[in-house]
Amino acid sequence: MDKKVEVAYDKEGNAHEIVDFNDDYIGAKIGFWLFLFTEVMIFGSMFLIYAFYLFQFDEAFVTSSGGLNLFLGGTNTVILLISALCMGLSLVKLRNGDVLTCKRYLWLTIVLAVVFLGIKYVEWNTEISHGIYPGSAHLASMGDGAVMFFGLYFSITGLHGLHIILGIGTMLWVLGLIRSQKITPKNFVILENTALYWDLVHLVWVFVFPLFYLIY
């Protein structure tokens, strides 16, 4: 895209470039980082609530944590790690001008994200089939600490899963933009922001995983 440079002159006659809202790469990055701050605040406050109840019901939290499937959770961690790598590589490839490989890595990221959701589904399904879900009589019989642990578990992993789904949607949209040449090797800020978002989603999981699975 050809940029029309507009300038203003100071008293000494030096030229200063005017930043315009239409094509401001740094502005787009700043805006997205600010959005990520809000995401950090959302998950941060949920972790705060987690900390509050961990302090109150530490024994029940440890016991309940033992009921989660460490193997599936660990697999999901690895999957998300690899997907973040793929996302990063797709950005690198795009910047190097290799649009085809970029798209392939994006598809790979989407597939991994779907696998993540599938494993999550299996996990949730197991717990729900054991009668462990918010509001169930069985969970209520397990005591307040377990109610709180699984309440937090379903809320936080649910919210995280929602972010994964939104991420998949965004990646499909990005693929569409690449196809219609709105994202090119010279104009890639949307893909870059998507990669940042995916890093955040992955980073949140890196906190969620030990908090719920590893305290046993």
């Binding site: 700043i30 600010l34 406050s45």
Partner: protein, 556 residues
């Protein structure tokens, strides 16, 4: 929607679809910050009038003891709806989204905000949230009756339609976050060359501090509201004591946002005062830097004081002491601002036009509100005054007598810039005095009623309190008449007023250097700004620029 002025943004616009033939689509899909701001302005004022109507009906109910015009249950819903509309639909988005959206790019010499489409999206979200809130009246068992704070566990147990109200509040919060992100990015990236942070107009400083609060605090209340929704839908139990949850935790989460939100409302209002005072005193503002920094300080300290809402909730004495002390700190930067404004007015030949009269009137009401805030921040007194009419009076003196009054001052001040026309000074002043008298008659008696023990949110009261409610009732009618009078004056000014010219007030900031109303994309030529925003010499602005029109786009 308005008289068409050749060349101005009322004629030309960008929409998300490029150019669109339909006039309505040109408005509701416009990505010009000035049009988005006017969309916000009108929708916001419409909801404001609804909430005023609800308040009048409450005052009517309370005019004499006993049940008069509504049932207790209905009364609870009415005050909840009044609160939800006034807070989430009027006063939080009010100044930033309606006035700030219009003025921020003009004041920093930008052609638009950083993300014009996001700007439009946030108005759409706002309307969606608003419609959701209003629609919940007609669904299920009617509007929430929890009060605008949605305190758990009542909000979990009540049979009314809390979920819709919560979802609406969440969506409105999202709209507010998007506006905040947009403003911070715009201020960081699109300032005209040469305009350093300490050369920005003070209204921009107010918006900047506000935007940070929107970004950092709103997500927390957002997630708290979502958790209440989880509780109601799935029965999770975070805030439900029967399941081991802690309702006080909800109060913490809620006030971590909602206390900074108070400053989110007042900071841009202070910004308006800082624009108006130097302009009508024809003097550089006293202590520019201290006013700018105090905005940021208020925003910072505002995060640390939420606990003073919870002195009676059973938190520990040490925590109460700390929160009480921190609360007093907020008075310091606020006091700095007031002394700076008064120092600017000292020995100035003040031009008492309507915006200035509104501002000086606000100083009176806000000082009453602020000083009673100190009373309430003191633990011992707070325990006595908690949830009485004293709090109601304090709250309305700060929010209405502070934020809304300065917003009205801003309406008068910038009307010529928005419309190119002038309101009638005579009627504007009369409207001010009507509002001012009505306001004080309405809320001052509540300080007394509260001090004598009248609890707030009550549908009925003992006969001893009748006199205060009678006075308030009369005050509420005078107040409402004054508000309508003011809006009619502004509207008549817009439709039939004298042409105002680009700079009727001899103001110095950039928005006054271009024609009124501005053209699409604001500036013909963007200046190099290496001077302070308020420079006057012998009562005249030092810098006069001609940034009038873009090539090939006539104006007038």
């Amino acid at each position: 929607m308005s008289p068409s002025i050749p060349g101005s943004f009322y004629e030309h616009t960008h929409t998300v679809f490029g150019h669109h033939k339909s006039k309505i689509f040109q408005w509701i899909f416009s990505i010009d910050h000035k049009r988005v701001s006017i969309l916000y302005l009108f929708s916001m004022l419409a909801f404001f009038l609804v909430a005023v109507g609800l308040a009048l009906s409450m005052r009517l109910e309370l005019f004499s003891p006993g049940q008069d015009i509504m049932s207790p249950q209905r009364y609870n819903q009415v005050f909840t709806m009044h609160g939800v509309i006034m807070i989430f639909l009027f006063i939080v988005p009010g100044i930033p989204a309606a006035l700030g959206n219009f003025l921020l790019p003009l004041q920093i010499g930008a052609r638009d905000v950083s993300f014009p489409k996001l700007n439009l999206l946030s108005w759409w979200l706002y309307m969606f949230g608003a419609i959701l809130a209003v629609a919940s009246l007609f669904v299920g068992d009617g509007f929430a009756d929890t009060g605008w704070t949605f305190y758990a566990p009542y909000s979990i147990k009540t049979g009314t339609n809390v979920i819709w109200a919560l979802t609406a509040a969440f969506i409105l919060g999202l709209a507010s976050i998007l506006t905040g992100i947009n403003f911070v990015t715009t201020i960081h990236r699109l300032r005209a060359p040469g305009m350093t942070f300490f050369k920005m107009p003070l209204f921009v400083w107010g918006l900047y501090s506000t935007a940070w609060i929107q970004i950092l605090a709103t997500p927390i209340v957002g997630v708290s509201l979502v958790m209440v929704i989880f509780e109601r839908v799935f029965g999770v139990g975070f805030f439900d004591p029967t399941k081991g949850g802690d309702p006080v935790l909800f109060e913490h989460m809620f006030w971590i946002y909602s206390h900074p939100a108070v400053y989110l409302m007042i900071l841009p209002a202070f910004g308006i005062a800082s624009e108006i005072v130097p302009t009508f005193c024809r003097k550089p503002i006293f202590g520019y830097r201290s006013i700018a920094i105090s905005s940021a300080m208020i925003a910072g300290v505002g995060y640390l004081v939420w606990g003073h809402h919870m002195f009676t909730s059973g938190i520990s004495d040490m925590v109460k002491l700390i929160f009480s002390l921190l609360t007093f700190f907020v008075a310091i930067p606020t006091g700095v601002k007031f002394f700076d404004w008064i120092a600017t007015m000292y020995k100035a030949s003040i031009d008492f036009k309507a915006p200035m009269v509104w501002t000086v009137g606000t100083f009176v009401t806000f000082i009453i509100g602020g000083l009673t805030g100190l009373i309430l921040g003191t633990i011992g007194v707070n325990v006595y005054f908690h949830d009485t009419y004293f709090v109601v009076a304090h709250f309305h003196y700060t929010m209405l007598g502070g934020v809304a009054f300065l917003m009205f001052a801003g309406f008068h001040y910038w009307l010529p810039k928005f419309t190119g026309r002038m309101y009638s000074e005579k009627h504007a002043i009369r409207a001010f005095y009507t509002v001012f008298v009505g306001f004080n008659l309405l809320w001052f008696p509540m300080f007394l009623a509260g001090a004598f023990g009248m609890p707030r949110r009550y549908f009925d009261y003992l006969p001893e309190f009748e006199i205060y409610h009678k006075l308030s009732g009369v005050g509420s009618w005078i107040f409402a008449i004054g508000i309508v009078y003011m809006l009619v004056t502004l509207y008549r000014g817009w439709r039939y007023g004298e042409p105002a010219g680009p700079n009727p007030w001899n103001a110095t900031t950039l928005e006054w250097q271009i024609p009124s109303p501005p053209q699409l994309e604001n500036f013909g030529e963007i200046p190099y700004v290496d001077f302070k925003p308020y420079e006057y010499k012998n009562g005249e602005p030092v810098h006069r620029m001609d940034l009038s029109v873009k090539e090939g786009q006539g104006h007038g």
